[in-house]
Amino acid sequence: MAAVLFDGIVYSSWLFLMAAGLTLIYGVMRILNIAHGSLYALGAYTAATLGGAWIAAGYAPAGTFAMLAAAMLLVGAVMGPLIERGLLKWMYGKDEIVLLLITYAVFLILEDVIKLVWGVESKMLPEPYALPGNFQIGTLVYPVYNLVLIAVAVVTGAALSWALYATRQGKLLLAVIHDREMSAAMGINVDRVYLITFTLGAMLAGLGGALTAPMIAVSPGIGVEVIVLSFAVVVIGGLGSLGGAALGALMVGIVRSVAVRYWPEGELFIVFFVMALVLIARPKGLFSAPEARKI
């Protein structure tokens, strides 16, 4: 049972990293970003390439962890401004559903960009996974890397909530979430807030991808399933809520790991079943704020 719980928490940590970026972008910009899955894939590929180059150059394998961080920063710093300034900036004010379709188009484009840049063969970066060694719970052996994943998720969650609720910039961001036009009228540079938010979100997706790269064979199409899973998480938690994303990630992660243990056929089924149940009970997710109807 403890093992199931532990697996669930590891999986939740991973989900939270993906969901945090998605929910942040939605909260501020009202964009449900399908391209988040591609940014995740880009993070994984960049990490595999940088890490591979690092190993090939003969440096100490421990440095691959730095390469994972570098991949995250690179994806965020390049793709964030590129997509936000290059495309989304011109689309604000359109319906949420149209914005969803636009990010779907970006997703389609990036899927092929990835194939063109990295080819269709899979890439590996096993070093960071193997390096920290293993530890035991009872009779079961786990890689320490799982603990790294949990730690990164906890630190990221804490840092994000600190930045949002305790810093000046964060409060400006919350103001924009609350009322975009009023914040602009009060002198907040909404354009800049959007750019920073999207870049931060892209960075979180890149981080999720970079941390996943050592655990899997990085191959085309890895972003496709990730995006629907993270959708489930943020929708369960309530779009735009960071705490909701954390709770959603925990629910999905633990439910899934219980399913994997006791009912393997239901692995994917159960995740979306929970999502449907939550939406039936709370149509806008667990942590949604009430909204006034506009006539």
Binding site: L87, D112, P283
Partner: protein, 306 residues
């Protein structure tokens, strides 16, 4: 005039069923099947709803039809194209009770969740061939045995007739009282409520109709391809339908078929010459349509006509 033109096109397709090369019949049959799904999506979009989960009903229709032949021993195409939409409509009649209360992104997400639930079940069900799906071979139509090799042509001819009739019916529906209320709901549903119409009932009805059309498309697709697999219910398939709908626009009931034919033709070409940039081309086309041609390709047709 316009009806005559469409009837003419349907007639040409009908003739094509007999004479066109096998690959073209396959392409057109698939385009027509997807066109039916998108026709349902068009009805939803007219109501202001975008479903990212029509794959659920497409897959349900395909599996219901295929299972009838595979398990039920009723390998008759006429039964299959009734079973597909009937099964889809039955499920939609239940899910619709719930979904008719949702709008915008939440409608899109919840319908996505339901389609992923079916996907999750199909992928793990080894009795239904898990990810590989299974083959369907049908050589019978309403009791008549069909010659080997000719069955796909006959099925295509049937689908042309059925699609033409349904398109006309939907055209009439859109021009009817409920059809007009649908468009009003898209524009401002609260005012529709104030005027005394039931938004819920119209949305519910449109949802079930769209599902039945998707189920029928699924059944025809199963007949055309001769194979079903869980991919039919995956979110990328639903996304493809949304893409075709956006490409064609919601201006006219013929737009989905035009758009689906272009889509399938381009995909056939792309698969041959540029398999690695196909999705990129789709994405760029979608952005271009949203930015420069928000009414879809149909606006071009209309400009020509006026």
């Amino acid at each position: 005039m316009k009806q005559a033109l469409l009837a003419g096109i349907a007639f040409i397709l009908f003739i094509a069923a007999a004479w066109a090369p096998q690959w073209l019949v396959f392409l057109l049959a698939l385009a027509l099947a997807k066109g039916l799904v998108v026709l349902g999506l068009l009805l939803l979009m007219r109501t202001g709803l975008v479903s990212f989960g029509q794959g659920l009903y497409f897959g349900l229709g395909a599996y219901a039809a295929a299972l009838l032949a595979h398990r039920g021993g009723l390998a008759d195409a006429a039964l299959m194209i009734v079973a597909g939409p009937a099964c889809a409509a039955a499920v939609a009649a239940i899910l619709g009770l719930l979904l008719a209360r949702y709008r915008e992104i939440f409608f899109a997400m919840l319908s996505l969740a339901f389609s992923m639930i079916l996907y999750g079940l199909l992928v793990k069900s080894s009795t239904l061939g898990s990810t590989d799906g299974f083959h369907v071979q049908v050589r019978q139509l309403a009791g008549l045995a069909l010659a080997a090799g000719a069955e796909r042509r006959v099925f295509f001819a049937v689908s042309v007739v059925v699609a033409f009739i349904l398109t006309w019916v939907l055209h009439r529906y859109l021009a009817s009282h409920w059809g007009r209320v649908s468009t009003a709901i898209r524009d401002n549903e609260l005012r529709v409520e104030y005027l005394g119409a039931s938004v819920y009932r119209v949305v519910y009805a449109n949802y079930v109709i769209a599902a039945a059309l998707a189920g029928l498309g699924g059944a025809f697709a199963a007949l055309a391809v001769g194979h079903v697999d869980p991919e039919t219910t995956y979110w990328t398939t639903s996304g493809e339908f949304v893409f075709i709908a956006i490409l064609g626009g919601t201006g006219n009931v013929a737009a989905p078929f035009l758009s689906a034919a272009i889509f399938e033709a381009l995909r056939t070409v792309a698969a041959q010459y540029a398999p690695n940039v196909w999705q990129m081309a789709l994405g760029v086309a979608m952005l271009a349509i949203i930015m420069f041609l928000p009414g879809g390709l149909w606006t071009l047709v209309r400009k020509r006509a006026s």
